[in-house]
Amino acid sequence: MSTGVLEVRDVQKSFGAVTAAKDISVTVPEGAVYSLIGTNGAGKTTFVNMVTGYIKPDSGQINFRDRNIIGMAPRQITRMGIHRSFQIAQLCNELTVEENMLVADAIHGATGPSFLRNAHDKDARARAIATLERFNIAEHRDRLIPELSGGVKKLLDIAMAMAGDTQIMLLDEPTSGVAADEKFPIMDLVMDALRSAGVTVIFVEHDMDIVTRYSERVLAFYDGRIIADDAPDEVLSDSEVQRYVTGAPA
């Protein structure tokens, strides 16, 4: 009997001699905001990659609304409602900001991408611009991706991932590569948009101020294991987390 929108049970993953995930088990309730913390190589991105179908676990179960999604292709998982953004924003550099958004809109349109419907159709453009406005980046709509700042790229990456029926959003380091003074405004924008849409959020983050401010629960990873799973204050004051993750004195 499930209690969460996402249930990960006893998941294991090794790359040769390196174990990237050991007995990972977690249940994420609908609408919750989870953050994943840990040093580089602790297993955070492996977790995100397994949930989104980029990597297949060696064993265990990943259930989305009681349906096992292991073995499904990333696009099938996306179509079910599990969307993601990337540590390095994955955008189409030869297209403008608006065209990038139109790509996302075309894929998630009611009838799927059409051979005949013009991609720059008035309604599609209006939808794309509305989304860009929601993320405060509409002013950049005619610019090509290489001309954008790191923060705008991140927002566009997340805005594209939000297209369609997003039920779970996995954000891989949403503030990496973003100027220090842009981090909180960007997170405010993103979290407002996700919360207002009722989306369950799981984000990977190294900045503990962001973790404390935005997450309801924290999963601390170390050496492929979850060493703490609790409210932010509890996890960040845990001696093991301080020793292996945050580096703060116990």
Binding site: R75, L91, C92, V103, A106, P113
Partner: protein, 312 residues
């Protein structure tokens, strides 16, 4: 936007069709061959928009030509519409068979695999003496819905037919390039990972482009065979496929008319340099391509975009 396209297509059709009245026979033949090859190149351009280049489009050019010839010679069918339809159908089926396999490959692997398939056809046809072997086969002049013209009327009818097919195919491909699927093709060329994680199948996008290229290749081959009155395995040889790639690079992937203009330029350069410098015409062609690549790295089509940009 769509109505502008239709008006442009009608204007292009009327302007090109006027050639049937004003062009001499040799020019009509040259233009008909150029447009037939332009159709094949349009298929390559469709794939180029997705980031791959087929070096084996001679496969479908040859397959279309042989299908039309064998059907005409063995079943007595001479109607050009039916022959074109049957060739396109055969190429569609072969494209559907190979498309999913090729759509797993990118870059040089896609290019070489497509080339290998066309060379397999070339080798097979060359050894099949019962269908002419290396000498190939002749095909009788086509009829047009029961009308059997001869001499100049035949040339003119064939020319108008290829002009019409080219304008229709060009218009349909423009609609496709501008469509949501067309935009996904451009996105795939740029970032496959993003497209997959948005929920679209890159393999599916690439397969469609390959199949469209196969059908266009088959139609081009059929028209070329009917214009020449002959088909041989050279249609599938790598130099023929290389010529198509040459035109596609010359045109770039931004403009559909640029594909046909490039095909016509190639035929003109080849014909005239062959006439005036019979031993060095390939050199002239090579220098011409180098000049275009250096001056217009995105092909002749980028001139249209520049012009539109300046206008805006």
């Amino acid at each position: 936007m769509q109505s502008n396209l239709i008006i442009s297509a009608i204007v292009a059709l009327v302007a090109l069709a006027a050639g049937a009245v004003i062009l001499p026979d040799w020019a009509m033949f040259l233009f008909a061959m150029a447009l037939a090859k332009g159709l094949v190149c349009l298929g390559i351009v469709g794939m180029m928009r997705g980031g791959v280049v087929s070096f084996g489009q001679g496969l479908y050019y040859c397959l279309g030509a042989y299908t039309a010839t064998l059907v005409a010679n063995n079943f007595g069918i001479s109607d050009i519409f039916l022959l074109t339809f049957l060739s396109a159908l055969v190429c569609l089926l072969v494209g559907i068979a190979f498309g999913p396999l090729l759509s797993n490959y990118r870059g040089i692997f896609f290019a070489m695999l497509s080339l290998a398939l066309s060379m397999v056809l070339y080798g097979s046809l060359s050894k099949m003496s019962f269908i002419g072997g290396t000498d190939g086969l002749n095909i009788a002049a086509p009829t047009f819905l029961g009308w059997a013209p001869e001499g100049r009327p035949l040339q003119a009818a064939l020319y108008i037919y290829v002009v019409t097919i080219s304008v229709i195919a060009g218009t349909l491909m423009r609609i496709y390039f501008d469509s949501e699927r067309g935009l996904l093709t451009l996105a795939t060329r740029d970032n496959e990972l993003r497209v997959e994680y948005l929920g679209a199948s890159v393999r599916n996008i690439m397969t469609y482009n390959y199949v469209f290229g196969a059908v266009l290749g088959g139609i081009g081959g059929t028209i070329a065979a009917l214009a020449l009155g002959h088909v041989d395995p050279e249609f599938a040889f790598w130099t023929t496929s290389g010529e198509f790639v040459f035109v596609a690079i010359l045109a770039g992937y931004l403009s559909v008319p640029a594909v046909f203009v490039s095909a016509i330029i190639l035929e003109l350069v080849r014909s005239f340099s062959n006439l005036y410098f019979p031993n060095t015409w390939q050199l002239a062609l090579g220098i011409f391509l180098l000049a275009v690549i250096i001056a217009l790295p995105n092909g002749l089509g980028s001139l249209v975009r520049r012009w539109k940009g300046n206008k805006a």
